[in-house]
């Protein structure tokens, strides 16, 4: 059983932090937070060609995280692989003892740095959850028997502030029906939105709320009412974060993240937190410190 699964099952309010695989082969910067924060957080999460920008493979990165003595979570995107490649990637992860897998559709290729690449989406995220569940039961998606069934702890994404909400709830319902173990939300700044979403979901998968240190550009866009994201950064919050120096915005952003983290935990608004702080170890450490974790 992964530590994440154990922590969620035990109501231990796990913290998962996101690290950034390099665009290259030097993993030092990616591993810095792993070295400094291991023991204080439950798992280190590794995006899969995030925003359709090519980076080092999550399974390889997960092995490096394990070698550093910590627990990884890999993301697996439907964008870049057909069903054969997805399944062999899952087997590869399992063989290395990686259980936490976050299954995502994946941002479209036009959002990234290889806009002419062929988008795959042979499976969607619901179907990929079913595939992974099937593999745990000992067979691949074509029904062929596996020698040794892998074990996974499977996650998917949920968007609390989706507008319209109906289609999002449909998707989450299907993810739940497919057997998802945990849902990681999009970033939330207005915690009443998280609370309302949770009530709509009812009982089911564990909810891990994303707390994100906003970028200076996002703060600026939010102030101008031009933030085009699947989450909102309320103008009052953006106003608080406003500063001339980006380093100052980051500092205030870290304080905001700490406050959100603390409140989510204190009010039991989620079962755990997913922390996004641009893969910066010191920033994460400061947030955990201020949140009293």
């Amino acid at each position: 059983m992964s530590k994440l699964q154990e922590a969620l099952a035990g109501g231990k309010f796990p913290i998962v932090v996101e690290i950034k695989p390099p665009k290259g082969i030097d993993p030092e910067a990616m591993l810095a937070p792993v070295k400094s924060l291991n023991g204080r957080v439950t798992a280190f999460s590794i995006p899969d060609n995030e925003h359709a920008k090519m980076r080092l493979s999550p399974v390889a990165a997960a092995q490096l995280v394990k070698a550093a003595g910590a627990e990884p979570m890999i993301h697996l995107t439907c964008r870049d692989r057909n069903r054969l490649a997805l399944e062999s990637e899952l087997l590869g992860a399992a063989a290395l003892g990686v259980e936490n897998v976050l299954i995502v559709s994946g941002d479209f290729v036009n959002q990234g740095d290889h806009p002419d690449a062929k988008p795959v989406y042979d499976a969607d995220s619901v179907q990929l959850l079913q595939i992974a569940k099937g593999m745990m039961a000992g067979h691949d998606s074509a029904g062929n028997e596996l020698k040794g069934a892998p074990r996974f702890y499977l996650g998917a994404v949920a968007i609390p502030e989706a507008d319209p909400l109906g289609p999002q709830l449909l998707k989450v319902k299907k993810k739940t029906a497919a057997g998802v173990d945990f849902l990681i939300t999009a970033p939330v700044y207005d915690l009443t939105k998280l609370q309302e979403f949770r009530q709509k979901l009812g009982a089911g998968a564990a909810i891990i709320a994303t707390v994100k240190v906003p970028k200076a550009a996002e703060v600026e866009q939010a102030l101008q009412g031009k933030l085009r994201k699947v989450y909102t950064l309320p103008a009052s919050v953006a106003q608080e974060l406003k500063a001339d120096d980006p380093a100052e915005i980051e500092k205030k952003g870290a304080a905001l993240a700490a406050r959100l983290l603390k409140e989510i935990k204190a009010k039991n608004l989620a079962d755990g937190v997913y922390l996004k702080a641009r893969g910066k170890g010191e920033l994460m450490a400061a947030i955990l410190e201020q949140a009293g974790i």
């Binding site: 439907c78 964008r79 069903r83 995502v104 559709s105 941002d107 479209f108 036009n110 959002q111 988008p119 989406y121 042979d122 499976a123 969607d124 995220s125 619901v126 179907q127 079913q130 595939i131 998606s141 994404v157 968007i159 989706a162 507008d163 319209p164 109906g166 289609p167 999002q168 449909l170 998707k171 319902k173 299907k174 029906a177 497919a178 999009a186 085009r228 994201k229 699947v230």
Partner: protein, 226 residues
């Protein structure tokens, strides 16, 4: 219908460079409707080629002929005679028509004048949009008549991705999110239960190219099994 658009003239001009006797063959069906390769467009292209050659002081003979359909042998017979006096044929048909033309006995080399783009509809004069990717397994009956394979750039079969914003698509905010549109229409029709079941993986084996279909009534003629 099949939608296509004319290749940039510079590309056509460069491909025709070595030739002096050019026959342009138009197609009177889909590409005529989408104003890319019908009789009128053949005439325009012929004038453009003559003008360009005139400016370069290079001689050229350009013939024009438009058939009803280049994807149907029935209409292509007259072309066998027409090509005799030419060195090269420039087809303004879709990719299927170009290939059918190029495979005719006695045919001269054929080059395409169009880029074939998609199966789509005539929204308004001069405005065409895609609707179908010919996926061999039509889902429209359960998706409210909106195609998830085509109208969602990711071809997702079980609901929206996380990227839509106020019902607009992550990939191109000018477009509606297909899954928001599917949901909205089925909701309006009181048929949301249709999209509750999880759709299985798409049977891509069926989409192996090149596809072939024999109408059931003709199975015996073409040696298919019933």
């Amino acid at each position: 219908m099949i939608i296509a658009e004319r290749k940039p003239f510079a590309e056509i001009k460069a491909a025709l460079e070595p030739y002096e006797k050019i026959l342009i063959v138009g197609c009177g069906t889909c590409v005529a409707v989408c104003l890319a390769g019908g009789e009128k467009e053949v005439g325009l292209l012929a004038s453009q080629i003559k003008l360009a050659r005139g400016q370069n002081g290079k001689p050229v003979k350009v013939g024009e002929i438009t058939v009803e359909r280049q994807c149907d042998r029935e209409f292509m017979q007259p072309l066998s005679d027409a090509v005799a006096d030419y060195e090269i044929v420039l087809s303004t048909a879709c990719g299927a028509g170009v290939q059918f033309l190029a495979a005719m006995p006695e045919m001269k080399p054929v080059i395409p004048a169009l880029n074939t783009t998609f199966i789509g509809v005539n929204e308004e004069a001069g405005f065409y949009t895609e609707r179908c990717r010919a996926c061999h397994n039509c889902y429209l009956g359960t998706t409210g008549g909106i195609c998830p394979v085509t109208m969602c750039p990711k071809g997702l079969l079980n609901g929206p991705c996380g990227g839509n914003l106020k019902g607009k698509c992550e990939v191109n905010p000018d477009n509606d999110c297909a899954w928001c549109a599917i949901y909205e229409r089925l909701d309006r029709q009181g048929r949301l239960d249709l999209i509750d079941p999880i759709l299985p993986l798409h049977p891509h084996a069926r989409t192996t190219t090149p596809g072939a279909i024999i109408h059931p009534a003709y199975k015996r003629r073409y040696g298919g099994h019933e």
